[in-house]
Amino acid sequence: MNDIESNFNNIIKVKSLGKKFGDLEAVKNISFEVKEGEIFGFLGPNGAGKTTTINMLCTMLKPNHGTASINGYSILTSSNEVRKSIGIIFQENTLDEKLTANENLSLHCRFYRIPKKERENRIKEVLDIVELGDKRYKIVETFSGGMKRRLEIARGLLHYPKVLFLDEPTIGLDPQTRAHVWEYILKLKEKAGITMFLTTHYIDEAEICNRVAIIDYGQLIALDSPDELKSKIGGDIVEIITSDNEAAKKEIETKYNKEVTENHKVISFKVDKGNRFLISFIKEFQTPIKSINLRRPTLNDAFLKLTGRQIREEEASTRDLMKKRMQMHRRR
């Protein structure tokens, strides 16, 4: 009891949680806390253990060791209370597409035992938030991908959850729709003030979070606000493309004593006060430069520094495509 009271503001508490699938340790002994009302992000490449962690927190999967509590209820012993306290937007579509938006929502109301007289108001309310009020009596099958996502968000909010889990909420959506879905999520946060726990492998989405946990190979390797994570890198990042990258790398290492990394023929290194550095650098550099770029560090750089590799968005996106295709195939 004491434990719960002392951490009153932490709505999610995770203690040395772990999950094994056969030989594979999907989640290795992770611990963290999520404050009430914050947007908490789980950032990591595909297969890092994000969804496994969410599934354990949502009581869909039993952990092999450790425990967690949500809204003061243990995921091990009070799974029913936990389920009442959370809303979940899964990675894949979980709407009944043969039914109308209204039918999907009213079924949800009944599963969560929302009193009959409140249902009408709540359905209207959540449909307004995602701006689908005019589609209420349309069959979900006819909706676009973005509309389905929005309807799922609306459904996840119906029972006024304390925590909303969003597992890759914008996966498989085009960039415009992604931006749109984010608008709603942020609006939601302002309006309802609920805690949001989201996973993503998109760097720009993680930037929106109040705090980000970086997870890789099932381990939590950093947890801080995006700004703090980036400031740990310090300074600015110079990116150059040259006609002879090998020579250029050697030159930078010997002349400026900087650590260089090369990725897709782009050499990058970190400097302090990049704007001044750049002037002398261009004058003095021997190897012919094809292009040069100076930028602030991103979360991707933080991830790179912490793990020694990139999140590799391009690989992730082809995987998304495959995932989507498989879903379409299954749906046929």
């Binding site: 009581t59 389920r83 899964f90 894949e92 709407l95 009944d96 949800h108 599963f111 969560y112 749906r331």
Partner: protein, 275 residues
């Protein structure tokens, strides 16, 4: 209760929305009853007339005989195949929405079974559009007796279906089991031919087949067998006996009730355990 009812209602809603499925559900019964039944009825009647007591067997009508079997066929197949919706819900993701809600696992299982049961009863009732072709006279009291009987049988078979679906988890595996077990059981239930004078091995299979007793129950209700001429009744194989004991409709109800309790328990346990 509310959530059980909600799950059940969802399945019924989906059933009525699927026009193709609704229409195709008439195809098989039509084929069996109208095409096969009409074709066979001439041959059947002349065979019966060849018997000793010409006058009492003269009004044997194969279509009439077959109708309770068709009702049985529809109720069996609909209720058992209704469990496919659990597999589909898993494939299409909706099962997760249900599983992550505070609804108890056992309530989900019962809701699914009841959904399948209701659809099967509705389907069975829809078959009464074929009654004019059979020459049967159906009155309200027959329907009032038949609906609970269909419900009981459909409930049992839906539970069997859910059990199979929970054990197999794939559509193809499910369909294979149905082909191997359920269709032979249907043919060995007396749905399509009178069960008398059968070879010993076949008689054995008929007697151990639970569907036999369901079909016999439907026959007793729809054909009003207690009002039939005893000779005709015997010729139609309606005097089902077990170890010299004449099976009554109450025996059958009790037997199916016990089966339903066993299967719904097994299915609920297996389903809850899986998820």
């Amino acid at each position: 209760m509310e959530e059980i009812f909600a799950l059940c209602q969802r399945d019924i809603l989906r059933f009525f929305r699927d026009r193709a499925r609704l229409l195709s559900s008439f195809a098989m019964p039509f084929l069996f009853l109208i095409i096969f039944g009409s074709g066979m009825s001439g041959a059947m009647s002349s065979m019966f007339r060849g018997g000793s007591d010409y006058s009492s067997l003269a009004d044997f009508n194969y279509m009439k005989f077959m109708f309770p079997g068709i009702i049985g066929m529809v109720v069996f197949t609909t209720s058992i195949f209704s469990a496919l919706s659990v597999i589909q819900d898993r494939e299409f993701g909706y099962l997760r929405e249900i599983l992550v809600s505070p609804v108890k696992r056992s309530s989900i299982a019962i809701g699914k079974v009841l959904g399948g049961t209701t659809i099967a009863v509705i389907q069975g009732l829809l078959m009464f559009v074929f009654v004019p072709f059979t020459g049967l006279k159906i009155n309200l009291s027959i329907l009032i007796k038949l609906i609970p009987a269909m419900f009981l049988v459909a409930f049992t078979l839906s539970s069997v279906g859910l059990l199979i679906a929970s054990l197999l988890k794939t559509t193809t595996g499910f369909q294979m089991v149905i082909q191997i077990f359920i269709f032979p059981m249907l043919f060995l239930s007396g749905a399509f031919f009178p069960i008398n004078g059968l070879p010993v091995w076949m008689n054995f299979l008929v007697i151990i087949n639970p569907l036999t007793y369901s079909i016999d129950m439907f026959k007793k209700i729809i054909l009003e067998t207690d009002k039939l001429n005893p000779v005709l009744k015997q010729a139609m194989g309606l005097n089902l006996t077990l170890f010299g004991h004449q099976i009554t409709i109450f025996n059958e109800i009790l037997f199916i009730l016990i089966l339903s309790i066993i299967f719904v328990t097994l299915a609920t346990i297996k389903f809850s355990h899986n998820n």
